[in-house]
């Protein structure tokens, strides 16, 4: 097996990867499994045979050039893919061992367990900050004993509590972009998901907010499975335990390689992975 030569850009990425916390082991069990996922938009085949295991208590980053199906893939995990007219899929997504696409499954229950944070922060404009955090409970009709404690807990975990504790009655739109995104994270946490999907959560934010959110992700990962799609390789290296590289050659996207993050960035097994992480394309 050929070891890829280290270039200067690669070495800095690899350094930050190993400087991060120790790689979580697989001991905590599988949080989510994707088996043989295919996806179509009408006749167009956009995802080809993706199989991935996501381990509890870890952060998995999905990297790859734009248009290779990463966002489509994570939307198959919480059954948001089916909203697009003409969408179809094949394969299985196992949550706690059960296929989320099995006939007779209540899809809204799935989404309570597999939460999502979107690229563009989208707090509900008609609700205050506290109402936004608890919106998921209202929408899913989940009963909770102490709403205020839950709200404070979620805001703390999202790293926003100190900044908004005095203005919980302000409207969601009055916050800055980074704060809005953390509010959306808090909102997603309120329904106690086991898995959190994040679709390029920092791409619309400034570097300062990005850093805060990456800290949040690190704190959250101990209690749930996090899957993050990102264009930013440095971010993937900073934040994730495992990285999967997606690629499309003009046809459907497929997963080229997956492994522990520092291995992907310092000793990638596939030549295409190496070309991507060293910046030769993408």
């Amino acid at each position: 097996m050929e070891t890829a030569p280290l270039t200067s850009s690669l070495s800095s990425v690899a350094e930050s990867a190993s400087a991060r916390r120790p790689v979580a082991t697989q001991a905590m069990g599988v949080g989510l499994e994707a088996r043989g996922i295919h996806a179509w938009f009408g006749q167009k085949h956009v995802l080809d045979d993706i199989s991935l295991d996501f381990w509890s208590g870890t952060v998995t980053a999905l990297i790859g050039p734009s248009g290779c199906g990463k966002s489509t893939f994570i939307r198959t995990l919480n059954r948001m893919h089916e909203f697009i007219p003409g969408a179809a899929m094949a394969g299985q997504v196992l949550l706690d061992g059960k296929d989320v696409y099995a006939p007779g499954t209540d899809v809204t229950k799935i989404r309570l367990k597999v939460g999502m944070v979107f690229q563009k922060p989208n707090p509900f404009p008609s609700m205050t900050i506290s109402e936004n955090v608890l919106a998921g409970l209202k929408l899913a009709q989940v009963k909770v004993e102490n709403k205020d404690d839950l709200m404070q807990d979620c805001l703390e975990r999202a790293g926003l509590w100190n900044e908004v504790k005095d203005r919980l009655d302000a409207y969601g739109g009055s916050l800055s972009g980074g704060q809005q995104q953390r509010l959306c994270i808090a909102r997603a946490l309120a329904v106690r998901p086991e898995v959190l999907l994040m679709d390029e959560p920092c791409s619309a934010l400034d570097p300062g907010s990005t850093l805060k959110i990456e800290e949040t992700i690190s704190h959250l990962s101990s209690s749930m499975t996090i899957i993050i799609v990102t264009h930013n390789m440095q971010q993937a290296a900073r934040v994730s335990d495992y990285t999967a590289f997606f690629l499309s050659d003009g046809g459907p996207g497929s997963m080229v390689e997956v492994g522990p993050t520092d291995q992907i960035f310092s000793r990638p097994k596939d030549k295409r992975t190496e070309n991507y992480v060293t910046g030769r394309f993408g």
């Binding site: 919480n78 948001m80 909203f83 809204t108 229950k109 989404r111 309570l112 939460g115 999502m116 979107f118 563009k120 989208n122 509900f124 404009p125 008609s126 609700m127 919106a135 998921g136 209202k138 929408l139 899913a140 009709q141 989940v142 959306c184 909102r187 997603a188 329904v191």
Partner: protein, 346 residues
């Protein structure tokens, strides 16, 4: 030491250009006077028409001379376009001025406190009032709104949230319904409900006819507003585990709040001045009638209509006063709707 450049607009009209334009207008004015004096044409119309034609001619010649025939044609087009907007807005000025002139004579505070039970329309105008008309219009519009708002909103929700296979036909039908003449709506309620069942005037029947006119306005405006709500909000609601109806009820509709209020305001403005169905179904009456199910009920349009029909100077002044009040109501509603829209866009 740096010199800061001053912002300039070299493409704006220079002084020379402005003077020349003024000169062309002046030349046209003078020629018009001379022309009208020479020929047997007379009257305001003659002046306007001749000035328009002469000005266009001079403008064309001037531009063609300096810039070429394309520019000349452009000048002619500009003249016609200016004429178009002038003719289009002249009536509104005339209407507002007329209403103000003729209506203000009939205004007095008693208008809002008295009805016409003790007076006739020919009495001096500071007696009697249109309280019954105001309360009547208010009642009719309120009833119509209570029925039209849910139906219009549901129609809009079907078109934007469910987008089922009836969407095309329903859009067409809403459009068709907005073209139903108001008198046909009145005849329909007569045929369907009044003749078979009650055979008498009532406010409620008039309100029903008004709902037929109100529903398309509310549905169309609500649909436009709901389409503007970004899809990400719906996605976020669903990703949190919300069912479709809860996402719509708790996220989408509240987000569209101000737009829906605009839809309501426009719906009210549409039916507040409708006369024909009211004449057919509600009659008029002279007293305040608090019961919409029994007996004729006054309304502003009917009051105006009846006062006009009588034909005496006093009654006609009453009619203008009634129009004045109605117009103020429409103006206020319109300004509110506009302000809401501007606030939403910011």
């Amino acid at each position: 030491m740096t010199i800061i450049a001053k912002p300039q607009k070299p493409w704006a009209s220079s002084r020379k250009q402005r003077v020349t334009s003024a000169g062309v207008i002046l030349a046209a004015l003078i020629s018009t006077y001379v022309f009208v004096a020479i020929t047997p044409l007379k009257g305001k119309l003659a002046y306007f028409a001749v000035f328009f034609l002469v000005f266009i001619l001079y403008d064309f010649l001037y531009h063609t001379r300096i810039f070429g025939v394309q520019s000349g044609k452009d000048a002619i087009a500009r003249g016609f376009v200016a004429m178009g907007i002038f003719v289009a807005t002249l009536p509104i000025v005339s209407i507002l001025v007329t209403v103000f002139n003729r209506g203000s004579g009939g205004l007095h505070w008693g208008l809002f406190t008295h009805d016409m039970t003790v007076n006739s329309v020919n009495d001096p105008i500071n007696q009697g009032g249109l309280l019954h008309a105001l309360t009547g219009t208010f009642t009719l519009v309120a009833i119509a709104l209570v029925i039209s708002l849910p139906i219009g909103l549901l129609t809009a929700l079907y078109l934007t949230e469910i987008r089922g296979r009836f969407s095309g036909p329903i859009k067409f039908l809403v459009q068709a319904m907005s073209g139903v003449p108001s008198i046909v709506a009145g005849l329909f309620i007569l045929a369907a409900i009044v003749y078979p069942v009650t055979k008498s005037y009532s406010g409620f029947m008039g309100a029903l006819a008004l709902t037929i006119l109100m529903i398309p306005t509310i549905a169309r405006t609500a649909e436009e507003v709901l389409l503007l709500i970004p899809n990400e909000l719906r996605e976020a609601g669903v990703a949190l585990g919300g069912t479709q109806w809860r996402t719509v009820a708790m996220v989408v509709v509240p987000a569209a709040r101000s737009g829906l209020v605009t839809a309501v305001i426009l719906g009210i403005a549409r039916v507040a001045g409708e006369t024909a169905p009211i004449v057919l179904l509600t009659g008029g009456g002279d007293r305040v009638n608090p019961n919409p199910f029994k007996g004729p009920m006054g309304s502003l349009p009917f009051y105006i209509w009846k006062s006009f029909s009588v034909g005496t100077p006093e009654s006609i002044t009453r009619a203008w006063a009634g129009i004045f009040v109605l117009l103020v109501i429409v103006l206020v509603l319109f300004v509110c709707a506009r302000l809401l829209t501007e606030r939403r866009n910011n």
